[in-house]
Amino acid sequence: MATRSHGSLPPAVTRSRLNREIVTPEGVPLEVTLADRAQRVAAFTIDMLIVGGTLIGLVILIVLAGDISVRDSWILSFFLLVAFFLRNFYFAAFELRWQGATPGKRATGLRVIDRGGAALQADAVLARNFMREVEIFLPLSLVVSVPLEASDRWLVISSLAWVLLFLLMPFFNRDNLRVGDMVAGTWVIVTPKATLLADMAQTAAQPAQAEPDAAAFRFTARQLDTYGAYELQVLEDVLRGKGGLDTRFTEQEVCRHIARKIGWATGIPPTETRRFLADFYAALRAHLESRMLMGHRRLSKHDR
């Protein structure tokens, strides 16, 4: 398989329901997170507020302009055209310009991408946005036009129910695809954001260098065999202070747990807790990474 040779995704122990894999044209798989429905509704609402606001603003401008009787037919034409283009091309134009984002999507941190991992093409952007006509505007116009006579009302209401199927399409599939996404072959994903922090294996070792007389904790291979990559990365999070509100307490809990599990004979004074964890992290990572180089990838403590 082509993806193998370029390093496939490491099998994640915890994979979210919304995570998907795309393969870039270079053959490297990347994991993307799909936007959930609430985020997409929020993005769409922002965009519609912009569209609606622009139109209302235009109307107000025209009204404020006052004496327009001479040119009012031109203004009407202009208004019709602006409304048409906003309605049909607002989304597409922004998604083309901003690499798959509209103002609403940018505000909520979403992007449109190609499901196959290829470049997002202009026709895909147009396709996904034309479908809004049947997803949004058709239901809307039906709601507005519910007539008062009973005979017609049922016709409209039944067609409304049918049309709602399109509107609610994102709720009927695992990928939260709306009809436009299906037609265009696109996903809406969360824009990834992560910052590069210092390597824990180095920073954690710093205090030990500062006081050379304090002997570093040393672990045997047997002790290090207790855990796998998953536990290592949980430990990394703890060391980075993501362990919860009370970092010190969490560290002591984790420390006690590890000491018991690996059979650490001597007690660890509270002041040494962090150093113990940091040393254990560095040792465990060295151990697991060297095994990984030999082709043994240990996912978690349950992985033998």
Partner: protein, 339 residues
């Protein structure tokens, strides 16, 4: 542990500068767009992107530093979005679209378009025959806003009057009328396309109903001996407009076809592949609607002569036939067939 330097730490030390440089570029693109990059930066971007992607591959197999892995993964994705985001110059894309893509897609979807056209023709024939048999059926076929007070009850003089004054008040400016026609018709066209997702049935109904209206009007004017003048009134813009409607219907049928008969791929894959082609057809059709509205809103109001009107019919028909048959032919080879 101070004495030991992990392979993954060493690896990160060597590559980090590249990652940071890429991150700076990507952040700039995200904030201010691709255009904000200087030309040397633009050249660096794909190089840095590939280097980072290869770092990611290596890191996945040698490193367990979760933060670095997450960072590389996210940086690669952000850079991927910059490198493989949409990037076309609008004017190039537009030229290429109308010179090659649009007529080519037309030829690819010719059978779908033919079926849409057939349903409209069937509608027209039905409308014609039934209205000719029972003039009152005109009211069932033609919605009030399309009839504009015309009907079997109207006098022949009133019907003739419309052909030359279009039922519009003298005060209503032509350009307003043209704009209204364009936005209204283009909306119907986009709707016909989008309804294709419901397995094409509503699309075909829409085609049929459009035909019904046309046929009903044809029969009405025929019954008053105004046929020649009526078609001189409808067809100058009608050739272009009906073609655009049929194109949109054909595009809708392409959607329906890929849903009903996905062929070798899954439904979703087929839909994704052909849905884009169909949407591109609709874009072309919107341009046709614009041309039709210009003819209808401006030309038809200004030119009253029947022979001139008919020569426009002939000219537009010949033009479109030639355009869709010939334009972009050279690029057709090696095209994937519809199926």
């Amino acid at each position: 542990m101070a004495g030991i330097i992990l392979k993954s730490v060493q690896f990160r030390r060597q590559r980090e500068a590249v990652w940071r440089e890429l991150e700076a570029l990507v952040t700039q693109v995200e904030k201010r767009g691709l255009r904000s990059l200087a030309s040397d930066q633009l050249l660096r971007l794909p190089i840095l992107y590939r280097a980072t992607l290869s770092s990611l591959s290596v890191a996945r197999s040698i490193s367990l530093d979760k933060n670095a892995l997450d960072y590389l993964e996210s940086l690669s994705k952000r850079a991927y979005l910059c490198v493989y985001g949409t990037r076309i110059r609008a004017q190039d894309a537009a030229w290429q679209f109308f010179a090659e893509t649009f007529p080519r897609l037309f030829r690819l979807a010719r059978w779908h378009i033919a079926i849409a056209g057939l349903f409209m023709a069937l509608g027209a024939a039905t409308g014609w025959l039934m209205t000719a048999g029972d003039p009152d059926l005109f009211y069932s076929f033609v919605p009030a806003e399309a009839a504009q007070d015309r009907g079997p009850g109207s006098s022949t003089a009133a019907l003739r009057d419309v052909l030359y004054h279009d039922g519009q008040n003298a005060e209503t400016a032509l350009h307003t009328f043209a704009t209204f026609l364009f936005t209204h018709n283009a909306r119907i066209g986009i709707l016909a396309f989008a309804l294709g997702f419901a397995f094409g049935v509503p699309t075909l109904m829409l085609m049929f109903m459009n035909g019904l209206i046309l046929g009903a009007f044809g029969a009405l004017y025929q019954s008053r001996g105004l046929s020649v003048e009526f078609w001189a009134w409808v067809l100058p813009h009608g050739v272009t407009e009906l073609l655009a409607v049929i194109l949109c219907g054909g595009a809708g049928l392409v959607l329906a076809d890929s849903l009903l008969f996905p062929g070798r791929h899954t439904r979703l894959e087929t839909l994704a592949l052909r849905g884009r082609q169909a949407a591109a057809l609709v874009i072309g059709a919107v341009a046709l609607f614009f041309i039709a509205a210009l003819i209808e809103g401006l030309f038809r109001q200004l030119v009253q002569s029947v022979p001139v009107r008919y020569s426009v019919v002939g000219a537009t028909f010949a033009m479109w036939a030639l355009y869709f048959a010939v334009a972009g032919r050279a690029k057709d080879h090696g095209d994937p067939q519809p199926r």
